[in-house]
Symmetry: C2
Subunit: 462 residues, 2 copies
């Protein structure tokens, strides 16, 4: 019986997708873990659709056979979003990688969900426009929408929720919906665009996105500034935001991380808490902003800015940031990185970071801090030696305390990585009865719980 | 039986609210129409709660007796959002008018839903911060969230969806939820904040809002510029947006409206298509922006800007805009205004406006155009003589054609006024199957359909 059912399923998919459907173990394993410490849980099959229509057909088959459906972008999830906790079909969108339209007149682009951000950058090169949302990895746009991703530019340009005009999605019912138009605003109906953004594939599969483009700035300057204490660096970031300075990036790297970066990339930055900053605008605007931020930094004991106008020097300066994760990883040979992700109201950020540093010191772990401090969001990048399980236990406990600290400071358990399975335990504490509202929405749209089951919503209390 | 039931209901409410609950006809009538052409449909009762807890208790009583619940802010709805189409209890939030906290360190404020925007402006005066969202009337913040309102500053600062951090709401179940924290971003769970914004009271009653504050600009300059043709004015706006100039306001008034304004306010502006502009930033930034926009305007045949730096002169210049609605109304003595509200992708705006002007000319109606043209959003303000029903019929038909024109140009039937009952007919055409998803969400959260029934969602097809 079991086998007959399996054969029927395979046959239905093979008719639809041919060799773009597989149950091979190596492919299944590649699709079972993401960039995370979570144990691999491979799906039963992997499907590679080429169009929204094929995705709808896949969903129809899964619905017939009550198979879980796990949407898959670039597999860069950090919180176990793609683990096949109940088996099922992983829907890998990599073949849906067409940039369908770059509409400069309306400052938007329409892409299939499998387009990666590097690919989009390449397409936009020379157009005079760019897409500002960039997590630290080459994620797909569909994945970035699904986790409400952000990154270094969010302080000025917002997150995915602010930069998507419209989505096309296949719902568990098999319905294909388009959530909005290219109009820049609308008061027509519920905001299904924002409902799907951050829903982690639990309500449907995003197949196309119309995203906002921004004019490439007339000029971009970057600056780096060292501080005697991490608190001084964070307070500089806080004051910059509170003064309404429209800075494009303001990133913290702590002294540990600067040491790791110097070693990894053979650089010689001061091994002190450091802010990396970027300014977008006309040269006059930027120089005004730089002088204001420099004055704030100086008042907190920061060094004079080292700043760069030309692109080569700017990218060299940002090396410290782009190499942060591999640098941390290189400090513990053979390690895998655990990345934490809390976000607190900006006024609480200095306390949260300082208390976390004290906590880290007591664990004996190497756990450098990296922060999108303009948003109140920061990460620990903890390289863990897989041969020493006690490190993992200590890191898990550290992350648990970190989330509790952030929640106590009226923050959130995830600034940009999402819930997946990794943060399920905090949902009720953070959202209270609102979790039941989320569950009601989930049940209304996906009554059979086929869409990425076991993610985002904690198990129901009995 | 009927009377006994009514007595029980009255008694339950009077125990809860005392004389803050009434069934008086004059009060009911005041709550039955809003600022619109829709026929007054008064509720059976009006309740005036003072707290979220009282709102929850009202909802519990309504649930017991299966009474419709209509949230009411300042009653400035244009699309009949507050009509009691099935009777029930109007929940007037005017007594919930406390500004609970101005948190400048986190650049946010928490207000009760009945706080009006003028009241908030007064509280923020001198704080160095402001709240940018301003519809043309003194609406409440709760009402503005419910309709996803915007206004003249949206082109730079976004709409309500972009400027609310968190909401407290009472749901039909009686649950009180808080949708988010003061953290500037989060990837934790479904975006219930954005789901409630624009939901027009159909999912719950918003009782408190935490809103983003913005730093008051270092300088504000305003400018006015006349054009030979409306198309030239619109193209100037389009080009300004496409060039990524961060203008704060860019408003179109057509020649008809300029004539009305001159007459009403005894001004002597050229009676030509006109852009009113406002720039926020440092003087150097603003002067850079002005010279760019001036160059664009000149290329389209616009006059030289008349521009003003000081506040008194600036406010005088904006008189034309603030007096627009009463000016239009004064052109037809004793009239009531019908206001339309479409939004199209910016590249389609010139065509939409030019075609609409041709259409208006054929109707014989006085229907001046007023536009938030930086967003692709514009209104006709049509003064209608109540003694001439044919005017109303012609205006309705004009509005119908206008919406069809906007939808054909891939726009939306409402940029900022919402659906209410006035735009129900266009929901399926604009959203297709997505309407069924909205309906599923509505049913999940409000299974008895007590929350503002008959609004936003069109009647189900049998």
């Amino acid at each position: 019986m079991e086998t007959l059912q399996t054969e029927r399923i395979s046959s239905a998919f093979q008719i639809l997708l041919g060799d773009r459907f597989t149950g091979q173990l190596d492919v299944r394993k590649e699709h079972g873990s993401g960039f995370s410490y979570h144990t691999c849980m491979p799906p039963d099959w992997v499907a590679f659709p080429r169009s929204t229509e094929e995705v709808a057909a896949i969903v129809a088959i899964c619905s017939t056979y009550q198979l879980p459906i796990i949407p898959f972008g670039a597999g860069t999830s950090i919180e176990g979003h793609i683990l096949a906790v109940n088996g099922g079909v992983c829907v890998d969108l990599r073949l849906m990688n067409q940039v369908l339209e770059v509409d400069t007149a309306n400052m938007c682009a329409t892409v299939q969900a499998g387009v990666t951000r590097n690919q989009l950058d390449d397409v936009l090169e020379g157009s005079g426009f760019f897409f500002p949302i960039g997590p630290g990895v080459n994620a797909t746009l569909g994945g970035m929408a699904s986790t409400r991703a952000s990154g270094t530019n969010a302080v000025r340009y917002g997150t995915m929720k602010d930069n998507v005009l419209s989505l096309t999605a296949v719902l568990p019912s098999g319905q294909v919906i388009k959530t909005a138009s290219k109009a820049r605003k609308s008061s027509s109906g519920y905001d299904l665009t924002r409902l799907l953004i951050g829903s982690e594939g639990t309500l449907g599969i995003i197949t196309e996105l119309t995203i906002k483009l921004h004019s490439y700035p007339e000029a971009i300057y970057a600056a780096i500034c060292s501080f005697p204490e991490v608190e001084a660096a964070v307070n500089t970031a806080i004051k910059t935001i509170q003064n309404g300075i429209a800075i494009a990036k303001i990133e913290l790297l702590d002294a540990l991380l600067m040491r790791a970066v110097n070693r990894f990339s053979k650089l010689d930055y001061p091994e002190k808490p450091t802010l990396l900053l970027e300014f977008h605008g006309s040269p006059a605007e930027i120089e005004g902003q730089i002088s204001k931020v420099q004055a704030i930094a100086r008042a907190f004991g920061g060094d004079d800015f080292c700043w760069e106008k030309d692109e080569v020097a700017r990218l060299r300066l940002w090396r410290a940031r782009t190499d942060a994760a591999p640098s941390a990883q290189a400090m513990v040979p053979g390690s895998k990185i655990m990345s934490t992700d809390v976000c607190v109201p900006i006024s609480r950020l200095a306390k949260c970071i300082v208390d976390t540093q004290t906590d880290i010191a007591e664990t004996g772990l190497f756990a450098p801090i990296l922060g999108h401090v303009g948003d109140g969001n920061f990460h620990l990048s903890i390289p863990l030696d897989p041969t020493d399980p006690s490190q993992f236990e200590r890191a898990k406990a550290l992350n648990e305390r970190l989330v509790q600290r952030a929640l106590a400071l009226e923050g959130t358990c995830s600034g940009e990585h999402g819930i997946g399975v990794g943060k399920l335990a905090y949902m009720s504490q953070e959202h209270g009865e609102a979790v039941e509202v989320m569950r009601a929405i989930k049940t209304a749209i996906d009554p059979a719980n086929l869409m990425n089951p076991g993610k985002l919503l904690p198990p129901e209390k009995k």
